[in-house]
Amino acid sequence: MPVAYPSGTISEHTACRNSCAVFDVSHLGTLVVTGASAFELLQGAFTNDLGRIEPGRAQYTHLLDPDTASVVDDIIVWWMTETTFEVIPNASNTGAVNDVLGSLADGLDVSITDTTDSRAMIAIQGPTARKVLGAVSGDASAVGRFRITPFTFQGVECVSAGTGYTGEDGVECAVPASVAPAFWDAVVAAGAVPAGLGARDTLRLEAAFPLHGHELGGGLTTLQAGLGWVVGWDKPAFVGRDALVRQKESGGYKVMVGLSVDGRRPPREGQTVLSGGGVVGSVTSGNFSPTLGHGIALAMVDDTVPVGDTVSIDVRGTEMPASVVALPFYKSKG
């Protein structure tokens, strides 16, 4: 996946907000977890409660460090059939997730297979995504939000999921490598604008979706990113549960907030956030918002900094005023 195609990040971003963009997200991993104990393994490993969904549905979930509750990875789980799941980690974390699941699978009736290299993952996103994809496959485009459905393309079995990472309606398709280039070409021919990593990042930032390595992991937990809903607190156990409960009960941790600046200058990761003459945190992701026309950032700050406060961001020695704002920065009207 390139940072940008020749049209550039901003025009790709705008295409996704106004019509339809297509992203090659094949770098996401796929671990196929199958067997009579597959549910038991994943229910005991990940934070979210698989009891809330059923076969044919997708769920966003986390894998935590057992001692610190730092997020090892944020993951989408596809529940394919009663005893088969596809676990979709971030590219660079696939090995770590595979290792943890492998160690927990000891003595269980389950097998884990990394099938990442056998398929492409193509995300079609935007207000007209379903219309565009419908010209390629009606079955694929009809999938509901957070549901998964099989479809065929050129006679080959594929899977469509009603998920994405842009803040727009859309679909992500797992397509076997043999037909992936033809599928991409068909989606582009139907009107989707190819978009790269740069637009993927500005889109997810406007939607205030955390990115692993920025707002998650490296010591940061599910709670700090404001994702308490991703935790099945009623489950008796999941990896890192005790550490997460301890953090929840003790409080006093840094939390993710949104910062908005008046001008176009982008805040940047690592810049210090100041309030009342002292350091209250730091920027974890920042950029120019193409939709809003000014700089925005996600930051981890002391939980005493309320929405509505004015803080400042240290931009290489100059203090840039910023407002603490409610998230997300952008919400689709669709």
Partner: protein, 126 residues
């Protein structure tokens, strides 16, 4: 990449056009392409004085931030205020409406030490 013959260049990817003893400065086509979509330009203050090699501004894209360096020493006599609302000119017209500042050189002969188009092309192709 477009490298006009009638300009001088710095190894920091700026172009310099001599105009009646003053020097108009911008970033090259190669630089804007490498930066990606430019979203903010910090121009210098009119009247400010710089030594050759001093950072006098910043160009920020959706990817990164880059400093702009004074290619020769001198005093800023004009800046491109249009970039405040339309920084995309740096991408769409780097040698024209995307200019950044005009500098009056302390030593008019300093221009001769800068790269010509052929030398700059060799640098970017190397």
């Amino acid at each position: 990449m477009n490298v006009p013959d009638d300009l001088r260049y710095s190894s920091d990817h700026e172009w310099i056009r001599a105009e009646d003893g003053k020097l108009r400065i911008g970033i090259t086509d190669y630089a804007q392409d490498a930066l990606g979509d430019v979203v903010f330009v910090q121009t210098p203050e009119v009247g400010a004085t710089y030594e050759a090699g001093d950072a006098f501004g910043e160009v920020e894209s959706t990817k990164s931030v880059s400093e702009i360096y004074a290619p020769v020493g001198g005093t800023i006599v004009a800046v491109n205020e249009d970039l405040e609302v339309s920084p995309e000119h740096v991408n769409s017209d780097p040698y024209g409406s995307g200019w950044i500042a005009v500098l009056e050189p302390a030593d008019p002969s300093a221009l001769e030490a800068l790269l010509d188009a052929q030398a700059y092309s060799a640098l970017t192709e190397g």
